[in-house]
């Protein structure tokens, strides 16, 4: 019994270590004072300051559109790769499986600088497409592994039954396979969206100063010690969105199993 109390205290301590900074940031976003150490009263003025900022909106729209496009593309390509790998008997796809691991293993900063070099040497001007490509090259690998694990749970018998009962292959795909795989597809889209939306290192190396992105905006404000309280407001909004996406993701994964 005494042991149990020690375990509980330890768990609570580690969880507090994780959550206290985040909670403090949320509370701070409603603090009328600019300074961390004094509480001057409740306010939403940082939120209104944030909403009025054109820079924040521009960065948000850029980051959001890239994350959405990257999530759709990588999940679409990821599912075809994962499906083929699982159903095909050809050994050639084993090589593909290994080729997919590399983006996950190699350091992100090395991947980012190699992309920057590649775009620079190919004379491609930096902007929406270069960021999109950088995020998607990594996300395809990530979507592939997320979907592979889930699709391997779908029995081939279901497809065979549909084929034997006279469904055309394309109908099997749209009426049988995709509906079963839908939770996994949603889960993959949510995770690839988040990876792209939050990505800083690859974004920095594949964008140019005239094309602002949200993580870079956060970085320039947080790292150069010129943080203003509206950063806390932005953080609170982003945390809320992230946690909503997290619960959706958990819901879809949980429903599958």
């Amino acid at each position: 019994m005494k042991m149990r109390i020690i375990w509980t205290i330890y768990t609570i301590a580690l969880l507090s270590f994780l959550y206290i900074p985040i909670f403090m940031m949320v509370i701070q976003s409603f603090n009328d004072s600019k300074y961390l150490t004094e509480w001057k009263g409740f306010t939403i003025k940082w939120y209104s300051k944030l909403i009025e900022s054109n820079e924040v909106w521009a960065s948000f729209i850029n980051s959001f559109s890239i994350a959405l496009a990257s999530a759709l593309t990588s999940t679409f390509l990821g599912i075809t790769l994962a499906y083929t790998y699982i159903r095909s008997k050809s050994r050639a796809y084993d090589f593909l499986d290994i080729a997919m691991y590399t983006p996950i293993i190699i350091p992100e900063i090395a991947e980012a600088v190699s992309l920057a070099l590649f775009f620079y040497l190919s004379n491609i001007s930096f902007g929406w497409y270069t960021v999109f490509i950088g995020h998607t090259a990594f996300n395809i690998a990530f979507a592939y592994f997320t979907l592979k694990a889930q699709i391997s749970l779908i029995s081939k018998n279901v497809e065979d039954a549909a084929l034997i009962l006279g469904a055309k292959p394309i109908k099997v795909l749209f009426s049988v396979l995709l509906p079963i795989a839908m939770p996994a597809i949603f889960a993959s889209m949510i995770i690839t969206f988040t990876l792209s939306f939050d990505d800083f290192i690859k974004s920095v190396f594949t964008t140019e100063p005239g094309f602002p992105l949200l993580p870079i905006l956060i970085w320039t404000r947080a790292a150069r010690a010129r943080a203003t309280p509206d950063l806390n407001a932005l953080a609170t909004i982003m945390i809320t969105i992230s946690l909503c996406l997290a619960s959706l993701y958990t819901y879809y994964m949980y429903r599958r199993s």
């Binding site: 403090m24 990821g78 900063i109 600088v113 190699s114 590649f118 090259a137 996406l245």
Partner: protein
């Protein structure tokens, strides 16, 4: 149906090849561009400052891995064997949820707290930041293997008279090795080249190899040397993952 998928497969493979593998190969070729092909490498490996920075990054990565392992193992054990089923999923979700919060924001949040208590811009702040951002990966990785250990094995060890200590060292610890290794690979590889935490929390002591690559490309514009250093770092990452996965095999057999 496979034939209709084929064109999509080819598109994906081309995409990954052109935008992932070709840039890496190009960077490798670029790193060899000088009068003597290996000059960029030699100048990095001969420069004591660079070697010290690489060594320092490896030290940070090693310490973060060890500290994360030590603080996470008890929790993973607690979640797998001791806690009530009722609370288990809540606690697990509580450990997973912060993953979804933007990494920069999490680090910035910690920065504020460390600033308030006066530990900032030094090695300790850097280590706290690294552990803060990465220990949940280690925890979940260990938990994933611990939770698969069958209760009957533990009961058997009890019936054969193993003490709780023996039960842990002879059964639980060896069986959880794959989780420890997977967690260690992830934590050590990502922290080795981590850029955000050292530069936000480390102050002058935050000059790690990730920072050096960043500066070589964005500040000094020495792309030849930057490419060579990136190739060296990729090689170290591959060696570390090979080292761990060979260890894993030894343990599994």
């Amino acid at each position: 149906m496979y034939s209709s998928l084929k064109i999509l497969i080819i598109i994906s493979i081309i995409f990954l090849f052109v935008f992932f593998y070709i840039p890496l190969i190009e960077m490798f070729i670029y790193s060899l561009k000088s009068e003597n092909p290996i000059e960029n490498y030699v100048s990095i490996l001969k420069n004591p400052l660079y070697i010290r920075i690489i060594g320092y990054s490896l030290l940070i990565s090693f310490l973060t891995t060890i500290i994360s392992l030590i603080i996470s193992y008890p929790i993973a054990y607690y979640l797998a064997f001791i806690i009530n089923e009722k609370f288990k999923s809540i606690i697990l979700i509580a450990f997973i949820a912060p993953f979804w919060v933007n990494f920069l924001l999490r680090t910035y949040a910690l920065y504020n707290v460390l600033y308030m208590i006066g530990i900032i811009n030094n090695f300790i702040a850097l280590l706290i930041g690294m552990v803060y951002d990465y220990y949940p990966y280690m925890l979940l990785s260990i938990y994933a293997t611990l939770s698969k250990i069958s209760k009957s094995i533990l009961d058997a060890s009890f019936l054969f008279g193993a003490t709780p200590f023996q039960r842990f060292t002879k059964i639980i610890l060896p069986l959880s090795m794959p989780g420890i290794i997977a967690g260690s690979i992830f934590v050590s590889l990502t922290t080795m080249t981590e850029f955000i935490v050292p530069s936000m929390l480390g102050g002058v002591e935050g000059y790690t190899v990730g920072y050096l690559i960043w500066d070589l490309f964005l500040k000094y514009r020495n792309w030849f040397k930057g490419s060579a250093l990136s190739i060296i770092i990729i090689s170290i990452a591959l060696i570390i993952s090979l080292f761990y996965s060979r260890k894993a095999k030894v343990v599994l057999i």
